[in-house]
């Protein structure tokens, strides 16, 4: 028997289970559960929307885009699908379209906290902090006990340098839900900003015990480690910057750096300074080797950290 959305009770249950797995950071399990659902019913719009979110969590943007598109074809008024597409567009750095989709989701479900938080994080990314704060305050008014909202408020105040407020919101979030992963990461970030890397590390590890693949917690732990080692820190800062660019621009940056090196090398040789050219070549080799071994060293360092608290090392 189907409800008004056309779902049977079994489908509803399985979707709820898949959604819970996604919220706990198990995107791979969500993908397999939804795959089973879609094998028997390929026209299950909510299945495609949830699959889009799970694929997005796995950074499979192209497939997520396709699935979100399918969901909207089947049900153009599904807020979850618009929200998923908004996040996908953010991942593709198509910010105006991301804003349109998230606003559409909000218009369809004005009481959906996730829509407020998504649009707020988009505005924070775009530097529109006042609008981001306004949305967070609306979300908090809708649900004063939402740890996710309080964690986001902490992140917002941290980004504008108001550490006391950031800490207060993180503490409130943790009092409501002591194991809320985003709140743990928010508190850890505040502690790091206050010059307490030990506290920051503890909160990052605590978050990772609940969700080993939580990107915010991994980022926080990596930032703490980067401050301990100048060499790894340099690589981490470079990697964080380059990752934000997207793959196309990353390639352009690499090619630009290579061309700059080759032009400099040719020019120095043309000027007759073979020694300087050799120094330049060794410096380039050192940079290449450094960027080559940096990721491996960093991951090993993180894996040792996580081994010490008996966590999964695959991430």
């Amino acid at each position: 028997m189907s409800d008004e959305t056309g779902q049977t009770a079994a489908q509803h249950l399985m979707l709820a289970q898949a959604h819970r797995h996604l919220q706990n950071g198990n995107a791979a399990v969500t993908v397999e559960l939804v795959r089973r659902l879609l094998t028997t019913d390929p026209e299950l719009a909510q299945g495609h929307a949830l699959l889009a979110l799970a694929l997005l969590a796995q950074k499979r943007l192209h497939a997520a885009d396709y699935e979100a598109g399918l969901a909207l074809q089947l049900d153009p008024e599904m807020a979850m699908a618009h929200l998923a597409l908004g996040h996908i567009r953010l991942g593709q750095r198509r910010l105006k379209e991301a804003e349109e989709e998230m606003k559409a989701a909000l218009a369809l479900e004005p009481d959906e906290i996730a829509a407020y938080l998504s649009l707020s994080s988009l505005y924070r990314f775009m530097g529109r902090r006042a609008e981001a704060l306004e949305l967070l305050e609306k979300a908090l008014a809708l649900d004063p006990s939402s740890s996710s909202t309080m964690a986001d408020l902490s992140t917002h105040y941290l980004s504008v340098g108001q550490l006391a407020r950031a800490k207060s919101h993180a503490q409130n979030a943790l009092e409501a839900e002591p194991e809320h992963v985003d709140a743990l990461v928010a508190m850890g970030s505040v502690l790091l900003a206050q010059g307490d890397p030990k506290g920051a590390r503890e909160h990052a590890i605590w978050a990772l015990t609940h969700q080993p693949s939580h990107s915010g917690a991994l980022h926080l732990l990596a930032t703490v480690k980067a401050r301990e080692s100048l060499l790894l820190g340099l690589w981490w800062r470079y990697n964080s910057w380059v990752t934000r660019l997207g793959s196309g621009r990353q390639i352009l940056v690499l090619l630009g750096a290579y061309l700059a090196y080759r032009v400099a090398d040719l020019a120095v040789r043309d000027s007759g300074s073979a020694t300087s050219a050799q120094i330049l070549e060794y410096a380039w080799l050192a940079i290449v080797v450094y960027t080559w071994v940096g990721p491996g060293l960093f991951q090993r360092s993180l894996a040792r950290e996580m081994d010490s608290v008996r966590l999964k090392t695959t991430f």
Binding site: R35, R60, L254, L259
Partner: protein
């Protein structure tokens, strides 16, 4: 892979019967850098088909386009080298062609890496590409030796396009 009869997600690879001979896309990239595009680019195409890469047609188009633009570039460079481009500037201009080949190689590697990661995630096996890379590096000089010595322009054209 055990995915027959289940819902297929668009970016998932559809490996063929010889997928076990595939390699991580890093190896064809390294072969391109050390041996030349004559080994690296066809290897990319082959690897894509072996793992059933979701973007194998785009990878093929990139490689074909890569060869076509490389050929056009060297033809243009040879035609303009004495009249428009000063001899001293030639090495600098030639760098653009090198950058083009590297750019195509990186792009194909990034695209293929996504499908390869999924292929491995679903239990696919692959082999090391060290031997073909070493072979490419060692055979590079022999490949140049195969090209006719005259006319000089043809030799330069072939060396440029294939290495």
């Amino acid at each position: 892979m055990g995915r027959v009869g289940t819902y297929q997600i668009p970016d998932e690879p559809t490996p063929g019967p010889f997928a076990r001979f595939s390699v991580q896309p890093f190896w064809p990239l390294l072969a391109t850098m050390l041996g030349g595009v004559w080994i690296g680019w066809p290897w990319f195409v082959l690897n894509g088909w072996l793992i059933g890469s979701a973007t194998r047609r785009r990878e093929l188009a990139l490689v074909v386009g890569g060869f076509v633009v490389s050929a056009a570039f060297i033809v243009g460079l040879l035609a303009l080298s004495e009249s428009v481009i000063p001899v001293k500037a030639l090495p600098y201009v030639a760098l653009l062609g090198v950058a083009w080949k590297l750019g195509v190689s990186y792009r194909v590697q990034v695209d293929q890496e996504r499908s390869f990661s999924l292929y491995r995630y679903f239990g696919g096996s692959s082999m090391s590409g060290m031997l073909p890379v070493a072979a490419g590096l060692l055979l590079r000089a022999s490949v140049i030796g195969l090209f006719p010595k005259q006319p000089e322009e043809l030799r330069v054209f072939l060396i440029w396009v294939l290495l």
